[in-house]
């Protein structure tokens, strides 16, 4: 399974920084697959996106071809521009004139993350770009603060259980758990067994408890509707099962925000993986899912790599990490950190 390290290193050092497209997808394409331009626009992914951009600026920007450098610069400026729209954004809907006497809500969203980004920009960018980025950041912070406090809009959302369940299908795990702390009706809906069964399959990709009927597997990749429930053993606690495996895997403790699909070798956002929008490998829609979370450490290492090898490296690292159950000797020799030693930056 393991590639010869020497060959890998040879390939890496022979790759130059030109924009030659012949050997595969261009650096710009690889960067695009990270999806940062889009993720910056999602308030719940903004912080993590800024951190990734900051990492890329510090660790890899200088080695990239000019075309990719200008794309990264564009995204950095975009992050600051979005900062100034942050409060409208965070509430995610257009405001009418405020009604009622509710207290105003103070929001200072995204500024810490953007601060991190501007520092990275100042460290990595050439003078002109650095000045531009800096001033854009300052203006956005002022604009956001000047906009003042967000007005509380009196919306009313007493949703019946079936609609709540439908909404919750579009939530990732952490948000689902947060939702269960809101009120009793949300608590009931967020603990729905079918929901957790779907998450179990989407995240862990397998059912290691003997359920009996093989047909369950094919059912999971389609919409799990209420009718499939009749094949389940009664009272099987999917949420508990999920929690057991989740807490056993140490990678979850560092709050990963990215995952890697081993089938199609693509980097995904964990926030985007929900029951309503599970990951479907292009060309392998009916296959079993196999995604692994990417720890922050691994991400840090990965973004220091030449971008051509982003997915290959991730694939190897993730498989290494997944091999945590293998003998001690193997584990100590093949860690992502040791792998990194072969590629001095």
């Amino acid at each position: 399974m393991l590639v010869s390290w020497a060959k890998f290193r040879e390939d890496w050092s022979s790759s130059s920084d030109d924009d030659d497209d012949d050997e595969g997808p261009s650096p710009a394409k690889k960067y695009e697959q990270l999806g940062l331009a889009d993720s910056l626009r999602r308030p719940y992914d903004y912080s993590d996106s800024c951190q990734e951009l900051a990492l890329i600026l510090r660790r890899a920007y200088a080695k990239f071809p000019k075309s990719l450098q200008s794309i990264i610069f564009r995204d950095t400026l975009s992050a600051f521009r979005l900062l100034s729209q942050m409060d409208r954004f965070a509430a995610c809907f257009c405001f009418d004139t405020p009604r009622g006497g509710k207290p105003n809500v103070e929001l200072d969203i995204g500024i810490p993350a953007a601060n991190l980004l501007v520092k990275a920009a100042e460290a990595a960018l050439p003078k002109q770009k650095k000045t531009l980025a800096s001033s854009k950041f300052k203006h956005s912070v002022i604009a956001q603060r000047r906009r003042g406090k967000v007005h509380q809009v009196e919306g009313y959302m007493d949703l019946p259980q079936d609609i709540l369940l439908h909404v919750f299908r579009f939530l990732d795990i952490r948000s689902l758990v947060s939702a269960s702390s809101v009120c009793w009706s949300w608590n009931t809906a967020a603990k729905d067994n079918m929901l957790w069964m779907s998450h179990y399959y989407i995240i862990f990709g397998r059912i290691d408890i003997s359920i009996g009927k093989k047909s369950l597997f094919s059912d999971f990749v389609h919409d799990i509707g209420p009718n499939e429930g009749k094949e389940l053993p009664i009272n099987f606690d999917w949420r508990g099962a999920f929690k057991r495996i989740f807490t056993k895997q140490s990678v979850w403790r560092c709050r990963p925000h990215r995952a890697f699909c081993i089938h199609c070798e693509s980097i995904l956002w964990l926030s985007a993986i929900t029951c309503g929008t599970p990951h479907r490998c292009p060309g392998n829609e009916k296959g079993r899912l196999n995604i692994k979370p990417i720890s922050a450490n691994m991400l840090r290492v990965v973004f220091g790599m030449p971008i051509y090898f982003l997915d290959i490296f991730l694939s190897l690292c993730v498989k290494m990490q997944a091999g945590l159950n293998s003998p001690r000797a193997w584990r100590s020799h093949h860690t992502p950190e040791r792998f990194l030693e072969l590629f001095p930056s």
Binding site: A91, M157, V177, S271
Partner: protein, 224 residues
């Protein structure tokens, strides 16, 4: 030729209705259009009877891209606030509930379908969505992109309207719109603490302090 002018004026009124979601919906009595009286542009020899369901099915079968003179059967719907909403059959059929009612021919004797759970304003919004999504655009990137940007603008509304759209599309069973609205609400929830969620949705915390502590303990595992 009288039939043609009547059709045209109905079209104009319908367009006005479709474009305004706030105004009071005019209570119109559109003439019952007999498909047999039109010329062949309606789409050839479909034998039609005179019952509501037959007329609607005939109209639904004909392509939507046709000229103004071609057959377009209207449906009349009575909203929860007592206003009548007139809509093209093909558009209304995007709602599985209406489609089933028409196919089962349960409009009864009258032409008016009762929608007791949805206001007129919500209905016109929902049908605006349906009309835009009549074209499927499989694979055609330009159409899918256009639909996507329409959806983004369409769902950027205040919380009350979002709630109406959610409930309305659930009742009428318009899958695309229901998913869109649910995704929007989910985006409002994602990444926020329970406190912030309660603030946005104006939800009362109905846990006692002990219960709250219990729930938080139960949920700790996801946030360690």
């Amino acid at each position: 030729m009288a039939a043609v002018t009547e059709t045209e004026s109905v079209e104009k009124k319908k367009n006005r209705l479709m474009n305004s979601s706030e105004e009071e919906v005019a209570v119109e009595k559109p003439p019952v259009i007999n498909p047999m009286s039109e010329d062949d542009s309606a789409g050839a020899a479909i034998p039609v009877g005179n019952s509501l369901s037959d007329q609607v099915m005939a109209a639904a079968i004909s392509e939507t891209g046709e000229t103004e003179e071609s057959e377009k059967k209207n449906l009349r719907l009575m909203s929860s606030d007592g206003k009548e909403v007139v809509v093209e059959a093909a558009v209304a059929m995007k709602s599985q509930l209406i489609r089933q009612m028409i196919e089962a021919d349960c409009a009864g004797g009258s032409d008016v379908i009762n929608i007791p759970n949805v206001t007129a304003a919500a209905l016109s919004l929902i049908f605006r969505y349906c009309e835009k999504h009549l074209v499927d655009g499989d694979g055609d990137k330009a159409i899918t992109d256009d639909l996507k940007s329409f959806d983004e603008d369409f769902i950027s509304v205040d919380l009350d309207t979002l709630y109406d759209l959610l409930m309305g599309s659930n009742y009428l069973d318009v899958k695309g719109l229901l998913d869109l609205a649910c995704q929007k609400v989910a985006d409002l929830i994602k990444g926020k603490s329970p406190d912030e969620i309660r603030r946005i949705f104006n939800i009362e915390k109905d846990f006692s302090p002990e219960e709250e502590e219990e729930v938080n303990k139960e949920n700790k595992w996801a946030f360690e």
